[in-house]
């Protein structure tokens, strides 16, 4: 770099606005950034290595903790990849497919709410944080009702989902869907036309479409640049091809548009869940195949066959054929892909997660250049990195 920096500023890793442990080294010339570098890896746990040493069924809880605010999407991506590997993706009961979509969309809303709350808090709008977390709490209650867990639900299973929806869950979900759109209006009243909010976000951190695609950016950050790529529309999984929803696209590619995309997405998610509740058929929620799905507990305790199936599956695990697959879902942060290489044994030979946050924030050192220090927070926040997923 020809220009010499006046000051090198170390931001993070413990900094409230870096969404975890992201460390940025900023080279400053006055208030302007002339060079930046990101240091990551503070919460690297070696998830991919762990997965190579576990049976397919045992891996699931590990992935809950990769992106710890949207565990359902992580699980969904993984079970879809394993099902593709096994060649059973068409045999999954329809009710389970709908329940998966409901959970994935609720997760998207809750993840966007965390993002909205913290992002607004960082930019000085204190009250939005409290509002957003109030509604998020309701979603966590719903998770608790159907899956037992609030953050790490462990709800998806290879071959279906763990539990059927209870009456109470459906009632509470309906109630939530009734009042939630009015809450989005509330957030928007606070922010969308707010002059301070707009002056902090409009025209800041602009990424154009070609650059975004070249850097492999996906999710809301890509859709704010005018590209309509969304895994749910391009390569529909579960029952997304039967549902009617819009993918929001804005064209400026700045922080403000990334905000608008996410707000729009929350409204669409509500629409998707409503349709799911209407269309969801009755029926089983798990595949009936003793080589893939554990039998119900009553059978294990009361019948010989159930006990044998349970024993076989726990001891020998699921054995997919040799081969390799890539399956992706649209997580709240972008395309979340799983690439599994199988050697025919009960453990994956290699499992690679394509982490959306990691790839989305790679552009940051370039993007931060020529911005002011105060804009760093807006830009980092708007890309919505989740360090658990960046470092894995």
């Amino acid at each position: 770099m020809a220009e010499k920096a006046d000051l090198i500023l170390n931001m993070g890793p413990q900094h409230p606005s870096t969404h975890g442990v992201l460390r940025l080294i900023l080279e400053l010339k006055g208030e302007k950034i002339i060079g930046a570098d990101a240091v990551i890896g503070y919460v690297h746990r070696g998830v991919e290595k762990l997965a190579e040493h576990r049976k397919y069924m045992q891996i699931l809880p590990v992935f809950d903790r990769v992106d710890y605010v949207s565990s359902n999407s992580n699980e969904l991506g993984f079970v879809l990849a394993v099902e593709k590997l096994l060649g059973i993706e068409d045999k999954i009961p329809e009710r389970a497919q709908y329940l998966r979509v409901i959970m994935a969309e609720l997760t998207r809303i809750s993840s966007h709410l965390i993002w909205l709350g913290t992002h607004a808090l960082e930019l000085g709008a204190m009250s939005v944080f409290l509002y957003a977390f109030r509604e998020r709490e309701k979603i966590l209650d719903l998770f608790e009702e159907i899956a037992g867990g609030r953050l790490h639900t462990g709800y998806m299973r290879i071959g279906g989902v763990a539990y059927d929806a209870t009456e109470k869950f459906l009632n509470e979900l309906n109630e939530f869907l009734e009042f939630f759109p009015s809450k989005i209006d509330e957030y928007e009243t606070l922010l969308t036309e707010n002059r301070i909010w707009k002056s902090r976000t409009v025209g800041v951190g602009v990424i154009d479409k070609e650059t975004a695609i070249n850097w492999g950016i996906t999710g809301p950050a890509l859709r704010a640049t005018g590209c309509d790529y969304d895994v749910r529309k391009y390569y529909p999984y579960c029952v997304y091809d039967k549902l009617n929803f819009e993918v929001p696209v804005y064209h400026n590619g700045d922080v403000y548009d990334r905000y608008r995309v996410r707000m729009f997405e929350m409204r669409e998610s509500v629409k998707i869940i409503k349709q799911c509740l209407e269309k969801m058929p009755e029926g089983p929620v798990k595949l009936e195949d003793p080589t893939i799905v554990l039998p119900p507990k009553e059978e294990v305790y009361n019948t010989m066959v159930g006990l044998i199936h349970h024993f076989e599956l726990v001891i020998h695990g699921i054995k997919p054929p040799e081969g390799e697959v890539y399956a992706a879902v649209e997580g709240p942060r972008g395309e979340l892909g799983y690439y599994i290489v199988s050697d025919g044994s009960d453990k994956p030979y290699r499992l690679r997660i394509r982490p959306p946050s990691f790839i989305n924030i790679a552009i940051m050192p370039e993007l931060l250049k020529n911005h002011y220090v105060a804009d760093v927070i807006a830009i980092v926040g708007s890309l919505d990195p989740l360090m658990g997923e960046v470092d894995r």
Binding site: I25, V39, I40, G41, H44, G46, E48, K49, L50, H53, K84, L85, G87, T211, I213, N214, W215, G216, C227, Y229, Y234, Y235, G323, E324, V325, Y326, A327, A328, E335, G337, Y339, V341, Y349, R350, R352, R354, F358, I359, A362, I363, D391, R392
Partner: protein, 161 residues
Amino acid sequence: MQYVNRELVEKLKERFKDGIEKVEEFRKEVSITVKKDILVEFMKFLKDSPDFGMDMLVDVTAVDYPEHTPRIQVVYHLRSLTKRHNLRVKCWAENEEIPSVVDIWKTAEWTERETYEMFGVKFTGRKLRKILLPQRYPYFPLRKDFPLEGYEEPCEVWDWE
């Protein structure tokens, strides 16, 4: 997920002939293994040819096969957003070196750094630093011979840059 069709694969075979070592199809996913010396040319062709239009590099990773020489296979996932098709390109890293594709797709910037630190594959033609691990960490953890529990390390590996 939709992958490139047979005609396009035939076209590639015609153009690159011996450069293509293997074409596999499993669960409708197409993987092409190419020789190292044509890798960059092959990737450029995939990006610029209107038939393929691979404008997005989805991911770069690697798989370790200790019994095979060379042992590391680098895997690229490519996608065309206009044609909506995908392709997996694989390449054996002879002498644990492979040319970088960062000039073609910027996605490789961080993903290649990660592949380097995890597998020890050197991507030539670019600046390469570790990204998740400490710079002086001497092992490559995703190789099969690295134990799950790791090695006990002296504190010197922690460099606070």
